[in-house]
């Protein structure tokens, strides 16, 4: 079976490409930038923008399935930018899949598409809800998940997978920012740091996407949250990331309301100034760090017939190795 993977240059995208190859799929990729060196030559490499319908159409040609991972992920930007990349991009993928008789679509989504309320404690995968979304990114992902699942039918099996906080060695997004911040002495805990959060080691998330691809005909129409199933206090997660990087754990605590207010303020300043760089804190990030976010994984594991292969302890050891530190203290 030949699988088209969009967004293969991202951290999770590259891992997914490797997982697909490991599972003996024929892999085509579609992305704007250059592939990781180990993938070059092993995949059919299509370059292009997801907003370009022709490019998407060409890449889809001859494929049996698609894993749609490409998305604009940023704390800043206009709605038009997010809509073009995420909403329209997904519509282009769906349209191309239909045209080429592609039978399976795995839509990579995020748990944030469902309402969070005051934190999530052992939560299931509630339906996506664009109204009241925390930011443009979340809203655009909610709309695109709804569109993708609505496309499910007798000829196209669709599964939405929502990995939560993907990390691992080589991650420049989550891990990279935390380490940079910690190294600069600017990493603080929001509130007590006791809120339990779920995270996902990158290869586990990639394996789950492959499992979703395999199980798509049986579970078409499902949206599933994917995590390591090992929620830990946010202070512990940050502390272990710092430890893996050889840095001291954050000890400063910012009261939750202060962090939330700062996040709101920073967002307004960035919007007014039209800044493109990443703000130091956003309201969304402050909320995420202050309240529990962990999920009920029973249904996910049952429907995907998948288990995380790498535990948190193993993941942190790999992270430490990746950061050049050998085995981190567990």
């Amino acid at each position: 079976m030949k699988v088209l993977l969009t967004g293969a240059t991202s951290f999770l995208g590259a891992a997914t490409a490797r997982a697909l190859l490991d599972a003996s799929y024929e892999v085509a990729t579609f992305q704007r930038g250059a592939l990781a060196a180990d993938l070059v030559g092993n995949v059919e490499d299509h370059r292009g923008d997801i907003a370009d319908t022709t490019a998407v159409d060409n890449a889809m040609s001859g494929c049996d399935a698609v894993v749609h991972l490409a998305a604009r992920v940023s704390p800043v930007g206009t709605w038009a930018e997010f809509e073009a990349a995420n909403v329209d991009g997904t519509r282009h993928v769906i349209a191309a899949a239909r045209r080429h008789g592609v039978g399976r679509l795995v839509q990579v989504s995020t748990p944030s598409v469902a309402p969070v309320g005051h934190g999530l404690v052992g939560a299931g995968a509630e339906p996506a809800q664009p109204e009241g979304a925390a930011n443009f990114y979340v809203r655009s992902k909610a709309v695109s998940e709804i569109d993708a699942l609505a496309a499910a039918g007798p000829d196209l099996a669709v599964v939405a997978i929502r990995p939560h906080l993907v990390w691992g060695p080589g991650d420049t997004q989550l891990i990279g920012r935390i380490v940079d911040r910690a190294a600069a002495g600017r990493l603080a805990l929001v509130g007590s740091g006791a809120a339990l959060i779920d995270t996902t080691f990158v290869t586990n998330a990639a394996d789950a996407l492959v499992a979703a691809l395999e199980r798509a005909p049986e579970i078409s129409g499902e949206a599933l949250v994917v995590t390591n199933g090992e929620p830990r206090p946010v202070a512990e997660i940050l502390g272990r990331i710092c430890d893996a990087a050889g840095l001291p754990a954050p000890s400063r605590q910012v009261p939750t309301p202060v962090a939330q207010a700062a996040g709101s303020l920073v967002e307004r300043i960035w919007a007014l100034a039209g800044r493109e760089d990443d703000p130091p804190v956003t309201r969304f990030l402050a909320d995420e760090l202050a309240h529990a976010h962990w999920f009920d994984q029973r249904r996910t594991r049952e429907l995907l017939a998948w288990q995380p292969a790498v535990s948190l302890d193993e993941g942190f050891a790999l992270l430490a190795a990746g950061l050049g530190r050998g085995a981190g203290s567990a």
Binding site: H118, G119, V121, G122, G191, S192, G193, A194, A195, L196, G229, E230, P231, R232, P233, A235, E236, G239, A249, T256, A290, H291, A292, W294, D296, Q297, R298, R301, S329, A330
Partner: protein
């Protein structure tokens, strides 16, 4: 002035009342005894399909021949309406028809201006059930003054069932069969001592009735405010809906005026007929009671039970007048009816015992050896039976003297009105007087009520009120407390020889009517009452209340005797043994076993007052071979152990129970008692002993999946009801297979008869017929030993299966930094995360919080090292200065509270005090 009564026909309630489905509402027409047409509003769960004889043919019927398996006829009182039954209508199975009329002139039924008396209301209801086509088995359900109306209907239905000619004579009554009655906070008479008549008379005489009941909503507000918790918001609006105008409220006043307080009141004959008639109503009955009702107090419940002694009952502690607003009441009604009234040949249930276990055939009278036989069947009747370690030195009494005193007490108690079956609360510390009083009560056929003073005044008040004692035998403090706190029962003072002045003061302050010594003196040489048989109720023993409000546990005589025999068998007790009982429950057993016994000088309500010297003196006084003491008492004995071990040389058995007993404690005690073997039984108020283990056994068992309590004792069965993913798996049967984790259930002759006045609790605890569910979780091992892993309610249900807390806690408590640990679950059942909360001296102040990375790692490493059983990694480790424990045992952790606190912290909330 009150406006004139409104004159208007029945109408439908407005839409949008909370929890009320408009499709249940219908109207009906009857003709009353004056030949006038009456219009009704009623809730009818089969409104869309039941036959309708009032002309407006209902067309929704899916099947013209459909008839319900059962009809519930629900009758409200004053000042409510059928809204009271909305939850029952919703909860009843679809094959039951639930009918709840608004009584005429009430709710949304007609307003005619007529003052309807009880007799008329019974006729009205009879006519209504005919009009709406009620046939087949019917259970009446009633509240408040709906009680007499429904019972009047029930008596008529019962007559028509048993007397066919009457059935055909009654208008349309043929085919109605009374299947049972359910009563909630109601009355059929004013029992002596009730305060309601005074209140009602006062209201009437002061001319307040009109203002309270008609001009204002005061009467309704009062009724709603009586509920506990208070009824507010949308539900309050629902109750008020039909009574918004003064003109609609006249019947509220008529109802109050129809209460017959005066001898010549016109309703007396009708109410008396109901009150007497139900004495001969051979149908299952359930009484659900809110005992905090300021009007229908326990006195009314007791009065109804005296008339219907076979009735099942459940008292909702803390609930008041509107008991059906209690969350558990409505499901209980459905469950009880299902269990008792859904057989076509429904028979009266034999009190709560019907639902209680019948482990094995109870012994015949010939092989049963009553408890008091221990005072008589002894080799030497002149030998000392009981020694009291008084301030002036030991005081003893012989078996012969005690037996004579017990006989005299029985005759004397009968002489002051203690009837067979009477309940007598015993608030007497262990000693000679307790043995006299206890055996006197038993020989008189009374049921003794045993309440541990450790419950404190509030807990004791609750227990004694719920037991409903007729008499109370107590020492000075107890009778004064009884009077001050309003405990029920005629007070009998126990005043020892050294309490002269104090006893006299207590007699006055305690409103004492009798003294035990005088009762015994009056009973000498009097004819003995007939002693009870093995099936008669011997005792109601209250649980310690460590795991919820204290519950009364009922024992019949053969069960109490079986408990004595189980202990004798288990510990090889012979006539050669001598007992020191520093543990209240066991102080009663020495005389019953026919062996000399002594209570050491101590306050038995405070075990930690036992000193080594006092224990040694007690051992000396009878040359004791057996010592029974609680762990707390033993801790203090060790702390004061300045006596020579040779004073305990004769002790062959040290027994400790009442709370988990650490092996180290027993080991230290055995250094004092070189020739003793140490044992600890496992059990509970409902069944003791269940299992037993020696110190040697504890050592051999080593660490494992909880606390090893040893193999089941002889003639006692232990089984496990396996845990499923989220809770007990109802599809799995009981098992004795090793390694299966689940609720521990037991079966033995010495187990409880049932819970007292707690039908719901009893039904749940005996859901495996013949077994008692202990509420503990654990497993058996391949050597047949039982391991206890915690309480059922504290099981952590993870996605990988259930996890019991105790093995985790014991492992973590092995860490030097940790003085105590609690393992709890956070998150939704079935996908919970394990969290360990540890008590340390270094926890962050003021409230504790996340443990340091170092301590977290220590805890995780410790748990990861466990192999048998494998223990899960906790998602988080939290740290506090001290964990909340049950103050009575200083050992049972309040895990429910810990779990709630952990949930808050780990959800990201600010830390609060645990």
């Amino acid at each position: 002035m009150n406006p004139s009564p409104a004159i208007q026909p029945a109408r439908l309630p407005p839409a949008g009342l909370a929890d009320l489905d408009p499709s249940w509402s219908r109207l009906a027409v009857t003709v009353d005894d004056e030949g006038r047409e009456c219009t009704w509003h009623l809730l009818d769960s089969w409104a869309d399909r039941a036959g309708n004889t009032d002309g407006a043919d209902s067309t929704g019927s899916t099947d013209g021949t459909e008839s319900p398996d059962l009809t519930l006829l629900c009758v409200h009182g004053n000042p409510t309406w059928s809204y009271l039954w909305r939850r029952l209508v919703a909860a009843a199975p679809p094959n039951w028809r639930v009918i709840a009329p608004d009584q005429l002139e009430m709710g949304f039924s007609q307003r005619s201006g007529r003052s309807r008396r009880l007799a008329t209301r019974i006729d009205d209801l009879w006519a209504l059930t005919a009009a709406v086509g009620v046939t087949g088995p019917v259970v009446t359900v009633a509240h408040d003054w709906g009680g007499p109306v429904s019972l009047g209907w029930a008596l008529r239905a019962n007559e028509s069932t048993t007397n066919e000619s009457a059935a055909t004579a009654g208008a349309g009554s043929s085919g109605v069969e009374l299947a049972g009655v359910v009563l909630t906070n109601t009355a059929v008479t004013q029992p002596p001592g009730a305060s309601a008549p005074t209140i009602i008379r006062g209201v009437r005489n002061l001319g307040l009735l009109g203002p309270i009941s008609v001009s204002t909503t005061g009467f309704i507000d009062g009724a709603l405010a009586m509920a506990s918790p208070r009824i507010t918001g949308a539900t309050r609006q629902g109750f008020l809906a039909p009574y918004r105008r003064a003109a609609d409220r006249h019947a509220i006043r008529f109802f109050v005026e129809d209460i017959p307080l005066e001898d010549d009141h016109p309703t007396h004959p009708a109410l008396d007929a109901v009150a007497e008639g139900i004495r001969k109503l051979p149908r299952p009955a359930l009484m659900l009671w809110g005992p905090s009702d300021p009007v229908f107090s326990d006195l009314y419940l007791d009065d109804l039970l005296a008339r219907m002694p076979h009735a099942d009952q459940h008292r909702f502690v803390g609930a008041s007048h509107l008991v059906t607003e209690e969350a558990a009441a409505v499901p209980a009604i459905v469950d009880w009816i299902t269990a008792n009234c859904t057989e076509s040949d429904a028979l009266p249930s034999e009190s709560t015992a019907a639902a209680a276990p019948t482990a094995s055939p109870s012994p015949s009278a010939s092989e049963w050896r009553p408890m008091w036989a221990g005072l008589r069947d002894v080799p030497d009747p002149e030998a000392t039976a009981v020694v009291e370690m008084g301030a002036a030195g030991p005081v003893g009494i012989s078996f012969a003297e005690l037996a004579a005193d017990a006989d005299a007490a029985a005759a004397g108690l009968a002489g002051i009105g203690v009837q067979p079956g009477a309940r007598v609360a015993l608030l007497v510390p262990p000693g000679i007087d307790l043995v006299r009083a206890l055996n006197g009560c038993w020989l008189a056929g009374a049921t003794v009520v045993i309440v541990d003073a450790g419950l404190g005044p509030k807990g004791m008040s609750h227990a004694l009120r719920s037991a409903g004692a007729d008499f109370l035998i107590g020492v000075d403090r107890a009778v004064v407390a009884a009077r001050t706190l309003g405990w029920p029962g005629t007070r009998i003072l126990v005043d020892g020889p050294d309490t002269g002045a104090r006893g006299r003061a207590a007699a006055v302050a305690g409103g004492v009517e009798h003294r035990l010594a005088e009762v015994i003196a009056a009973g000498r040489d009097q004819p003995m009452p007939n002693p009870p048989g093995p099936q008669d109720l011997a005792a109601v023993v209250f649980t310690s209340g460590a795991t919820g409000p204290a519950k009364g546990v009922r024992y019949r005589h053969h069960q109490i005797s079986a408990q004595r025999d189980a202990l004798v068998r288990l510990y090889g007790i012979t006539a050669a043994d001598r007992l020191v009982a520093a543990f209240a429950p066991f102080a009663l057993y020495g005389p019953a076993m026919g062996i000399p016994s002594v209570v050491p000088a101590m306050d038995v309500t405070a075990p930690a007052t036992l000193t080594a010297a006092a224990l040694a003196d007690a051992v000396d006084s009878v040359d004791a071979s057996l010592v029974f003491a609680s762990p707390a008492a033993l801790v203090n004995v060790l702390a004061t152990a300045d006596v020579s071990p040779d004073r305990f040389e004769g002790v062959r058995l040290l027994l400790s129970a009442g709370a988990p007993v650490p092996g180290e404690l027993l080991a230290s005690m055995l250094e004092l008692m070189p020739n003793a073997e140490a044992h600890t039984p496992y059990g509970m108020t409902e069944c003791l002993p269940v299992a037993d283990i020696s110190l040697e056994g504890i050592r051999r068992a080593g660490p494992g999946p909880g606390v090893c309590v040893g193999p089941p004792v002889p003639e006692t069965e232990v089984a496990i009801h396996p845990l499923g993913a989220v809770a007990l798996d109802p599809d799995l049967g009981l098992t004795t297979e090793a390694g299966v984790v689940g609720e521990i259930v037991v079966r033995a002759n010495h187990m409880k008869d049932g819970y007292d006045k707690l039908w719901i609790t009893e039904a749940a605890s005996s859901s495996h017929r013949g077994w008692h569910r202990t509420g503990d979780v654990g497993q058996l091992d391949d050597e047949g030993r039982l391991w206890v892993g915690g309480r059922l309610g504290h099981v952590i249900t993870t996605a990988d299966g259930p996890v019991v807390p105790v093995p985790i806690e014991r492992r973590v408590e092995a860490l030097d930094a940790v003085s105590m640990a609690a393992a709890v679950g956070v998150g939704p059942p079935g996908t919970q995360q394990v969290v360990v909360v540890v008590a340390t001296t270094t926890a962050p102040l003021p409230f504790g919080g996340l443990a340091s990375a170092d301590l977290t790692n220590q805890v995780r490493r410790e748990l990861a090292a466990a192999t048998d059983p494998l223990l899960p990694a906790p998602a988080a480790v939290l740290e506090v200065r001290r964990l909340p424990v049950d103050i009575r045992h200083n050992s049972k952790i309040d895990r429910t509270r810990v779990a709630h606190w952990a949930h808050q912290i780990l959800a990201g909330a600010r830390a609060r005090r645990l």
